[in-house]
Subunit: 153 residues, 5 copies
């Protein structure tokens, strides 16, 4: 199993390190890593990891800032990541942590690590045990903060 990890120098937490660590815990996996300046550089970086470096799935890690301009950047990056998936028929698991989701730098670091690790588990399931995800369908899973849980009639 070969998984790509794409991350940025803009992020204030080394999310790539946590992704690699967690992926290796859950699967015998070969990692290809690419670091780019910012989140808008991620879509093509992910596509190159798939098409030029043979990855079956890629994790795209980024930390958008809190300003309005940053939100627009994140939107553009997300659209590009979706398009890269449609062009390659491969999953790219987007892990974005918005700076304004956390109340301070400490919580930001905690959240970035936890969300990255939980999505690394999702990435392995997507490739190796998709039926495990179907067992969790509609159960209100969240990555980082606590799960919302199921809603019942």
């Amino acid at each position: 199993m070969r998984i790509g990890v794409a991350d940025t120098t803009f992020a204030r937490v080394d999310m790539g390190k946590f992704a690699v660590d967690e992926l290796k815990k859950h699967a015998s996996v070969s990692i290809e890593r690419a670091t780019v300046p910012g989140i808008k550089d991620l879509p093509v970086a992910c596509k190159k990891l798939i098409e030029e470096r043979g990855c079956e799935l890629v994790m795209a890690l980024g930390m958008p800032g809190a300003a309005e301009k940053d939100r627009v950047c994140a939107h553009e990056a997300s659209q590009g990541i979706i398009l890269a998936q449609l062009m390659t028929n491969r999953h790219i698991v987007e892990v974005f942590v918005h700076e304004d989701e956390a109340k301070d730098a400490r919580e930001l670091a905690w959240l970035a690590e936890r969300r990255t690790r939980e999505h690394a588990v999702n990435a392995v399931k997507l490739l190796a045990s998709p039926q495990a995800l179907t067992r969790e369908a509609g159960t209100g899973q969240r990555q980082g903060f606590p799960d919302a849980g199921p809603a019942r009639e």
Copy 2:
């Protein structure tokens, strides 16, 4: 007839279960199911169901949250689902239930089930009896809440 059902672990209701149940009531249908973490993972999941697992139509089921960021996610997912359809010339019936459409968890569960079931009927019509949809053209059909009905001069 082979129909795909793509849903998420993020949703708080197992919409996929209702889709499968309703589809089977209305047609002799083979189901392919794929569950992904969130709605932004749906576009490529639907495209893979069509191109790699032979589905003639896919239902894309999701439950976006109520925050501004969630609305942007839903927008990105919808754009990707439209693009996946254009790339494959297949219908993907999007069934999104926004958390803020319902006043509480109970209504949310009710709405998710009802909208999913009504769209499952639409999915079967799209494949098996498109003329049935033309008979309903311009009649103000809604899925979940009551129909708006026709406007008359």
Copy 3:
């Protein structure tokens, strides 16, 4: 001349009926009709009318609701319709009537009929007499409500 007419069951006026009626007044035309649940299903329906049913041009008819979510749906549908045109090199004449353009159901029905009929005339001109459109270039034409007319220095 083969023209497609794509419309929805969501609309509260049978715009497809008016389109077919008006097209037949102005040209010897063969009509292919497809009805889908909502406006987000229109892009692929139009593309299929072009690529699978041989239409040279398609009219895409829809009636977005008045809520913010409906405006986003209309935006997504419009983007998809533009993309479908670029993928096929065929015109798709979008006729959207927003529910909040009219003050009541009666005006809505009037507006939907009138805009559809005027755009049906445009559709025939695009295919059969493009020079007629060039004679109207820059004259402030509107479909439905009165023309704005030319601005003069």
Copy 4:
């Protein structure tokens, strides 16, 4: 040199006429003209001018209205024009004059003519003397209203 001119019947000024007039002043050019109802019809019209009528460059002329819905239309049209360029590797010079840029109809007509003529000059430079544009790089050029000029440290 073959240049396409695409314009609309929606615009309140015959921008196409000014474009053709100005282009002919600056180059020995063959013009292909296509007029469509509105700005959302421009992307495919431009692509057809390039691919079906042999244009090396197209000018896309439009006049979006002042309402919020019109701004969304302009955004969709612009995205489509960018995509048409990427699909053809040809420049499409977009000349949009927003109705609310001018204080009255008279200024609107003046602005539409002036911006169209200045962009026609740009179009010729893009095809025939790209180095002329590089000499103007970073000098704060504007089309229509006065230039902003360079910013200096």
Copy 5:
């Protein structure tokens, strides 16, 4: 190594000049330059630099204005630049300086030069020493204004 530099006549600072100067300091590089009127002309200009003039990477330099319309233009340009990358599997390093990021023309000129130079260094790293970027992963790098630095638990 062949790098493209695409810039605009709209910008109020000759960012292209700084890009070329900085690139030459860090690598033995052949430069291809293309100047276009505005930022919405950049996506196809970059794609042509890659596909018709053999560039392995392009820097896309622009200076969006401060009005709402300008922000929309920048968004459209960025989407196009991301798409151009996905269509070519090449990095395009976007360097946009928004006029309202600086308090006056002097700071604007300073910021444009500094951000362009820092991103030129990134461009060389992307091509020649990607592992240098991975060493900076998650360290809160910024281009122009001071770095944000890492967040720690």
